[in-house]
Symmetry: D2
Subunit: 406 residues, 4 copies
Amino acid sequence: MLRQYLRVRDDTLALAASLSAEDQCVQSMPDASPTKWHLAHTTWFFETMLLRPFSPHYQVFNDQYHYLFNSYYESLGSRHPRPQRGLLTRPSADEVIEYRRYVDAAMQELIEHARGDAWPQLKPLLLLGLNHEQQHQELLLTDILHLLSCNPLLPAYRSGSDKDSLSPASISAAHGLTWLSHPGGTVGIGCAGTGDDDDFAFDNETPRHNVLLSPYRLADRLLTCGEYAEFILDGGYRQAGLWLSDGWATVQAQGWKAPAYWMAPDEVVAGIEGWEIFGLDGVRPLDPWAPVTNISFYEAAAYAEWAQARLPNEFEWEAAAGDPRMAQVTGHAWQWTRSSYDPYPGFRSAPGAVGEYNGKFMVGQLVLRGSSFATPPGHTRVTYRNFFPPNARWQFSGLRLARDNI
Amino acid sequence: MLRQYLRVRDDTLALAASLSAEDQCVQSMPDASPTKWHLAHTTWFFETMLLRPFSPHYQVFNDQYHYLFNSYYESLGSRHPRPQRGLLTRPSADEVIEYRRYVDAAMQELIEHARGDAWPQLKPLLLLGLNHEQQHQELLLTDILHLLSCNPLLPAYRSGSDKDSLSPASISAAHGLTWLSHPGGTVGIGCAGTGDDDDFAFDNETPRHNVLLSPYRLADRLLTCGEYAEFILDGGYRQAGLWLSDGWATVQAQGWKAPAYWMAPDEVVAGIEGWEIFGLDGVRPLDPWAPVTNISFYEAAAYAEWAQARLPNEFEWEAAAGDPRMAQVTGHAWQWTRSSYDPYPGFRSAPGAVGEYNGKFMVGQLVLRGSSFATPPGHTRVTYRNFFPPNARWQFSGLRLARDNI
Amino acid sequence: MLRQYLRVRDDTLALAASLSAEDQCVQSMPDASPTKWHLAHTTWFFETMLLRPFSPHYQVFNDQYHYLFNSYYESLGSRHPRPQRGLLTRPSADEVIEYRRYVDAAMQELIEHARGDAWPQLKPLLLLGLNHEQQHQELLLTDILHLLSCNPLLPAYRSGSDKDSLSPASISAAHGLTWLSHPGGTVGIGCAGTGDDDDFAFDNETPRHNVLLSPYRLADRLLTCGEYAEFILDGGYRQAGLWLSDGWATVQAQGWKAPAYWMAPDEVVAGIEGWEIFGLDGVRPLDPWAPVTNISFYEAAAYAEWAQARLPNEFEWEAAAGDPRMAQVTGHAWQWTRSSYDPYPGFRSAPGAVGEYNGKFMVGQLVLRGSSFATPPGHTRVTYRNFFPPNARWQFSGLRLARDNI
Amino acid sequence: MLRQYLRVRDDTLALAASLSAEDQCVQSMPDASPTKWHLAHTTWFFETMLLRPFSPHYQVFNDQYHYLFNSYYESLGSRHPRPQRGLLTRPSADEVIEYRRYVDAAMQELIEHARGDAWPQLKPLLLLGLNHEQQHQELLLTDILHLLSCNPLLPAYRSGSDKDSLSPASISAAHGLTWLSHPGGTVGIGCAGTGDDDDFAFDNETPRHNVLLSPYRLADRLLTCGEYAEFILDGGYRQAGLWLSDGWATVQAQGWKAPAYWMAPDEVVAGIEGWEIFGLDGVRPLDPWAPVTNISFYEAAAYAEWAQARLPNEFEWEAAAGDPRMAQVTGHAWQWTRSSYDPYPGFRSAPGAVGEYNGKFMVGQLVLRGSSFATPPGHTRVTYRNFFPPNARWQFSGLRLARDNI
């Protein structure tokens, strides 16, 4: 467990390594947090959920950090307003690193010397903390990309030899779309519990329960940028009839004409020629075989309507996820589903602060399944439920098409 | 059919009869429309969906009304902005009545002389138009109540002998809450189609399909104002832990301390003494045995949390609706469910303008079931799906509690 | 005095006579008030400032009207929020007429039977009330024009034989612009006091004081629509360099391309062909010799910059107003000056509520001089200081050019 | 001149020296700019106004900086939006220092080798650039103070031995307020021109002209914090009658209860006990003999009303500024006047980009006179016209009372 702890913690630091203190400090919109805040908040999580209750001699690093780095836990008191996280030029990036080291040392002590009878309480919280930190690793990347995109210089997050790992990988150009049939029927959905390490899960994946599905078909791969570009070139962003009402209102209010970070050529010509996409590797020509990312649910649903298909619901996705013919299930792009983020039957939040982790967000959002190229390896599951509001575009969110099987 | 048509149309006029031309003209918020607009828009619906396509010699009453009274049909062209409906002092209330008479005469002609082979096309649209008008009859009441509530004089919509029919009826004080058990299992949900008159349904209730339910319990009656008042007096509006995150943000931003239209006494004393509620009959003392209405989904969910219960999902509600022990199923208050307004498996919108009726709103809203004291008699069904955003409070929306059966 | 009182009061009613109760009720923007509100507020002014303090036996018409129809007098208690004046469908238009009659009867009694020793106190307040009502007569017209302009039907405020009186009169096409020289030097500005009826003045015109002016020149007539159209056709609304910084920001935020109520032809051709203007008489072709109206200070200043001229300051305007060669001094269009609305040296507000009439608005506004075609005859003076924020366009505001005399 | 150039440029760097790269990057509100942006923009000014036109072989440091660091010069093309200046984590603080060095070297070259016939053109622009940079030196301080005040840790801008220089100095406790009488009459105001170095002035101080003043009295010193505290303790922020209408609306909308950066004690006791003020030196107890700063024009005017006095207009201030009995004329706090920022008679903006420096802001602002403890020594004059909107509080703005002499 200690090795796992140290590895996850190091991974976070590695993601911040290419950024200056300035890059790490600024917040570009209320939804996105500064890198430094991610580094501190994940540390605060271990301090608050583990060290304070379980380490009797632990001395808090700095009392004021409890106010500064609490994200949204109402039961833990008031906190620094989310839209103002970028105003915290102090503590400095260096002080936050020091805070991490201090907490890591205490956590090492706790993990190594935990009494056997404390372990059943400790372990789920430790696993929660590590999974929490992994979620922030991905957010760190989506958030810094948004910040850098606001800079007219369009600086790359990372450049040089490591480049390839931070763009979504292309699928083979020969991979035409195949529809995989699923017979439907009663399928088991979700996890029995959040319990032990072999099958850690968030509480929103529980309890496991049966769902009845009609027969359906699912695309064997993700939608590509090339396919999405056809929708744009066919005037998809100008046809109200393709859009949900709220989606159309958003298109008009925001002036959307393409996914986030897509840059049209100065003079539009036929096809995708001249289109570029800004990503963690900087500005690159649109790759027609890469999965489309950074689209909202509204755009995903409008595309599906245009393609005379639909989005799968989250149960259809989960039931088919084990099919060996399904490509790009995880590790490429989060996949919007046509499922609102509602609680599973029998779901109850845990008591205390950790109960605020997921349950209180179960309204007004949509479920995404799978994981993206920016998700830490090993962090996802077929039962994993990611969720964002329908207008969110700064995540690496794409889509996989579905159809009724009739 | 003609009798039915004329009755529905007359009912709408009767609802406007007690209002002055001024009352009918003003719009108090973007969500609510003026009475006059309701009178005109429902007429426009018949003119546009029936007379224009099916009455070859029909002369449009006024070309500009097509722009003024289109609500949200993108496929029918641009329209007067929703938040500006109250600026239309012209056409006058009298001119709108004249418009209604003109269209009614043409509709009478159409219905009486429709050729037999046209009827299969006409009839569903006629039924849709009548159900559409009934929906607006209820909206007319909720909207005028909101307008009158903005006037410091707090004028009653209607006074005198008819009073009783426009307040939610109390349940007997002896009616304690009983939990009705349901075994769960596979249940049939929704309607097969929108087809013929014996079973008119909106498209959002289709297709009929099976759903698997866990065992559950449902309250045999609605939540009362007296019960809800206990939640207030216990500090329910001050305890973040009871609320969904968006709900808590709304409570704080809006300063909510009670349902809409509830008026606290100048000096709060123990219990419900001194509390009053503004309604269509004017200001009245809080009736502890009347069903609570005019609460948002957020409040319904917070109350349920406080009561260690939950809201039913819409399938649980529908499956139990036929139980003869269930009181107040319809005709008292709409009942918030814990179901987001998602499409049923296999749902497809109809082609053309009528396809915009329901489908494009299927995101960001919650389902309500049943009907209220303000719903026209005969307008609802156990499969009926009403829907509003989670913060909406100007509808006659209440709740029925549910629990897991474990 | 009584005759004067009754005439002014009747004039107000006459202005409302062509409007329906609906027209009189609605508010189209926070700056503009409904006709009915003007009718009631001016009545409230007499009730509050004269009848309550000076008529011992006067019974208030309706206690709640004190809250509803107080405009902005903080010392008289809280009041109905300005942006919600249009929500008052009650009291009805008829009830407001009744309120006027009731107060008029009491005022008649007061004026006829006022004791001689009370008259010195009464008379200035009576004059203030009448001048106040005359101001609202003009506002009634500017406000109803704004409301009607929001209706896609573009209904005329008044039609038929009286038409001509409600459009700004044209000047002779032969009237080229002549620059009138003024030697400058010490000039007397303003009024000595607000005292007796021969020289009623508002407090903001006092005290009279001397101002030192440099030599300057003033246009002998107002700017015409034809001249302003040249500015538009030369791209005036697209050249940042002509505009004050706040003005340019407003042009871009509001998308201004012409004065308020100007309607460009569908296809722009050379010159003013096809341009129309919506006014109290409805839509009419642009008259090149009519004074331009409904422009903001920003537009007036930008035009002057484009014309290599400037706006006069209010002292230059006042010093030249008596020159018999100056045409269109009053009765055509209010004339923006390059003077911020600051207090005159030695200005003190009166004690009590009437002290709130003018003084507290002396920041952030610009002075306009003269009067418009919609100003009641006899209401203005050469010392009269009208004032509006620099972005206001719904008044009948135009300009007269000035130049340094060098 | 070169020595002067280098000294001013070094002074700017010295002000940034105590700040981390993070501190220098963040923007806390649209009105305030990041330190790094100030460092770059002042450099851009020299590059754009001097090096580009006058140094034939000058190579621009970075083409994109022209877009990033143009503040508001419309004639120089589009620019990075003001509210997004804090999103520029690149160029880094180090790169901006490099930019400064590069431009400084080129400027040194230009100054040393300027041909004699170029000097008459160069010199005024050089002086303008230096005065411009000095203005930004003060803004750098007011802006960083605002940023630090948004941090719950309330870090000091600078600590240690230099402290005293960055708080407003107290006046002797024995210095009671004396009213200095001025006879009024014709006084000369402003500067003849912006010309040569003995009397550099901004264009808004020109042309010199005569103004006629009534007799008046002026306080011989600034208002103190102790005096202002009495206004607060007397309920000044709760009495509508003391405030201009816009001021009262602002008090209510913003919840103002004291000047910016004043911190009330947890429990309010009589007098100033327990009050603290956050400043560049961190949190310090309120010093009753220090001049009040960080108040808006609205607050200054309300205080004056409460004190049965008034604010001086800018001409009264200027005419009395030379009186040897006037204390704290400059170097303590900017002094709000009762003068709107209007152009002087005969004022004309210079042609070209430098003409945008002052003239286009002459509406909606108020004039402040004097200078503050944060103004660079030598930067002000008795004719100097500073200006800010009436609600601005983040400047070191205070007041000096005036009264009519009657």
